[in-house]
Symmetry: D3
Subunit: 261 residues, 6 copies
């Protein structure tokens, strides 16, 4: 009997509320598979309380990579629970051949078989161009994306406002995406919106994607397939460079002494 | 205790050899999940022995839809085991809200997290423009696709030539895709190539996707997520039109008496 | 003196009303050339009364191919009178080197010299993503297409509602395309709308394309030029496979015994 | 009995040899229609002996517009016989609602129904980026274009070298387009190559487009359809501005006194 | 001590008012560099009083090239002060290796580091498709362009209406671009709008680009870098062809006797 | 008399050799302007000795932002001297309205007026997909980019190998870009290649861009124009969040206490 695969889920900010929301969705999703994969959810040790833009992402990516590098030996794959094209994912794919995804990529891919056009309901207008760039990176174009719509919140609001307030904002933005942009599927574009998909789906009558759940499911399929990140091109492993390290953090220093994949 | 979900896998041609190859891959992949989903593999009752182009696909799509419509009540989702943008999938998505995919879509989506550029190794040059059009439909662009490469076979050759001959042709085309086109991941572009991925992966050192396996895994995640095809836009359900039927096949006639989703 | 070229026009559904509308437009258009080309208009023997989506198209394509294959020896080219990227056209281009088009392709190409942006006025929202995909296939991008606009009808409505009702719906959608989407040219996106172009053109003051007429004119130019479908790539002729036939229809069976082009 | 429509074909340079080649192709093509359209072929009165690049095109466009404006009242439409996105066409579409095309647009559009990918065989490498830009303007993308290939000539060489020399150069470039670029159809990318298509088609076995012939046929279909250039957007007619004229040429001055369309 | 570089700025129409507006902006911008580059502003000797579309551009390009060719020996680079993809620029890049730009290209490039999406506020709807085509040519896509917005003027209006009237029209269009199209940066799309950027920037709070100033600054950087137009591909210098000249204008005739670059 | 504007140039790694190469190019370029702008060149205090991929970039971006934030009050703009779409730039554009660029963006923009197609000569194959993604982000497409070519070095090699060795590798890759990919302009894709452009330009005869110089020139034009980063959309300033800081670095902590722009 083979041991269960182990998935590491990391919330790339330091918010305990957000981590709890993510962990609840992870627990639910991993439970669907009856134990063939196990999951652990952690958050970054330092950095930002939420990722509200590119400045925060630079800080978040650094501490996310640091945290993951210190735990990576004990896991078979990593899910970064941030709905953005989070820079830690590319970095980690160079550092390990174990599969690594973020929840934005998983959510986009899960939506494609369900309708011709998807819309992302994100927190604020600040994220609109950033997520459009993310879709472009993931699919190579914006053709399948009907729109990115703001719900006029901060990322942190998604876990600090009342659930009713958040749902109302999400419903309003989702409805506009369906009515005005031609969305056939809705993606909830923040980890903090996890497990709100059912209520919105019932109200709108279109499929709604929970990105954390999509991430867990996509990672399970990669782990069970024994698929690894390609060593060519984009994710070429960096050679070990132990003498050059001038990085004071445990996990990142460790990476710099890493052997070639 | 909930009953296991049931997946219907259909080989859209009438070849028993091809069906056997597909069934072996399905059995292996569904087994990874320890029984949470069950799968049945069938083939079309009539039509073509293999799908070698667009003419065959018209015939194949008709008989595939006919077969699936006659069995659909007993299943929770459908996987069409043809590596093409097989027309039966769009048709079935109108006929049912249960999730439906073909293995080309699943293979493309599975490859994206593993490298920046994938190549498809297909049977013949005839398929190159057809599969390029398929990638365009699935992702909305060709940006992520390094190339579609012919391995100079017919689809039927993949199950009638010796395994060594087929492997040699696939390896040659895959190596060219890596060396000349910048492929970081290889997709085996025919159901008949199932389970040859391991040998090629070991030889080339890059991830190689078994499309049937990718299809089973993607369908399992959709079934466990309870996701349904969107009723808006592209897959709007057609209204029942019992009086207009002039179609002499059991399954298709049934569809024309179908209620709205 | 050379004999006149013979064009076969096929309505891919079984509606007699629609066939009559198409035939009237064909007769008018072919008459412009003073007899250098002759045209015959038929409809499918079996299948669907109208093509309202992808399910219908699978059925329609099968019976269209069947009908055309049984008549092809007596004609120099084929026009499929369905405003969609109808799958029968690709199939037939593999089966014969004689030129084959559908009226959507002809209408799009005819509009390009008349303005920078065209809009398609189609029947229902169901067709919007399907026709967008069709434009993508025909031109390789959506850049020249301002929009696809629904006129809130079924395809069958175009020949069963009163002409006034249909015109009113078409005018409303066309006006919106001009005012809100920047359309400079309008395409009537259904065979059933044939010969309504003049009334809309007079009302709106922009060029309006009758797709059936565009199809006849484009086919005439191909026939008079003696141009044939390329035998390379997309439309590679399939080899004869008489022993594998398991198709019970006359025309399609015939195709399977066909010699290489 | 209605009078025949009259087509004006203009060679936008001053070469008598090139004009003769164009006229021969026009005469052949217009003859296919048995007299329903008549054509006259002229060349620019001043300017350049051949259009070898963008500098020449600025000069050529000016004198082409000048010539056409002085003759336009007597014709129903205009074909500019230059295989480039010749600037005179856009200018003339503002000056008249009568249809105007250049032969590049006609050739590209004629090729689309015959294969998935076309290549243009042009004179020199100088034209490669210019014609790629032209395809982008005509179709909105380069997706359908396999390549633009130089045949290592000047435009003038096409009518001053021996026919054998020209054919040899065209055949070599066409063969490379088929073998290395995946071309399924070849476009002869210079008016001076007219009527060489048959020899190349016989040698290569793929369709070869004579751009002048394509231009005549496309113009005939526009003339017989009574289609006019859209007055909105790109080709909005300019208001008459008689007092501002500081242009010493007959035709162009006339344009500045033109009434609104 | 090296002599200052000399920049020739040409207004491609004959309007003295427009030339004065351009010259004021040039003088201001060149003054920022403390004398390292000197600039001279001229206008075309003949042609059109303003460039209101493609017909005017054909006339304008001819006389612009004529004027520049007669003065080119005394300058190190040329700026064409027309906010369009003015055909004279491509022509001049073939005629000289000295750098040549138009102000549209400069304005687009200057805006890119300042925000993710820019909008162009142009004169009239006629320019919308023309400037969209220009952006496509400059950047290779429209992805960075939020919109092209008309301000309901002619080009000539920008220098003949009162400054208040022009500002009001520009502000209204700019505000719509920001509010409805997602513009983060505004480009004033006409030379006649020069130096109105400050007022609009103060009112809207987003960066506003003065295209003439952008042009001067971009040309200064090219001149100081000693960069020259590439002699390969698009701007291949044309060979001297003195015997073929049939062009009666001083500057253009001179070009035809020019030596190879 | 106004004081000179002050430009901060930061080498985002810790290599003193690379910093010296960058500083030499900065000194040369800033000198062209006769003192209207002053420049200071620094490097990151901690992090990586060179940026060889995405992992390094995460580390480099963090320490680059940290360093710049601690110095920003004394400067009018920032140039990040890394030839990649370095994440620090987006972050800094949120943190300040002062203009910020990286040298890749500047080099790409400087090349556009000089030829239709540019190629980037980068260090290694690892960078090819990363820089292609960068071009996509900067221009919105890859249309203007002929290719990204590896010169088979690490980034550090560019300043540790002999100048002859580096030049030979760059020349070889550049020549292939011109001959096989159609490059008309070459971009040297690493800060360590600064000032090698002249030798390559003389050998190849095409314009070669020094990215550091391009960066200095572009920044000078932004500084002299008083242009600021847009506060809308992509670079929306983040609100001050002093209480949430869990970042132990001086400059980054400072950012978290920053006032709104």
């Amino acid at each position: 009997m083979t041991a269960a695969k182990r998935l590491l889920v990391i919330n790339p900010n330091t918010s305990k509320e957000m981590t709890a929301v993510i962990e609840a969705s992870v627990t639910h999703s991993i439970g669907l598979f009856g134990g063939v994969v196990e999951a652990t959810t952690v958050c970054a040790d330092q950095g930002v309380a939420s990722v509200e833009g590119s400045f925060d992402e630079v800080v978040s990516a650094y501490w996310t990579v640091d945290k993951v590098m210190s735990m990576l030996d004990d896991y078979d794959g990593v899910l970064v629970a941030c709905f953005s094209d989070h820079a830690s994912v590319k970095a980690l794919r160079e550092a390990t051949h174990k599969p690594v995804m973020h929840i934005m990529e998983a959510a986009v891919l899960q939506s494609l078989p369900l309708g011709a056009k998807f819309s992302i309901v994100t927190d604020s207008n600040h994220w609109k161009p950033l997520l459009e760039e993310g879709v472009q990176a993931i699919l190579g174009s914006m053709e399948r994306c009907a729109s990115v719509r703001s719900s006029d919140m901060t990322a942190l609001d998604t876990v600090t406002l009342s659930k009713e307030q958040v749902l109302e904002k999400l419903l309003k933005a989702s409805q506009l995406a369906v009515d005005q942009d031609g969305a056939e599927v809705i993606l909830l574009g923040c980890a903090g919106m996890s497990q709100m998909n059912v209520a919105i789906e019932q109200s709108l009558g279109v499929p709604v994607i929970d990105a954390v759940s999509a991430g867990v499911l996509a990672m399970v399929t990669l782990l069970l397939s024994n698929l690894r990140t390609s060593p060519l091109g984009m994710y070429t492993p960096l050679p070990a460079r132990p003498d050059e390290v001038s990085v004071p953090n445990a996990g990142i220093s460790k990476a710099y002494g890493r052997p070639s994949k």
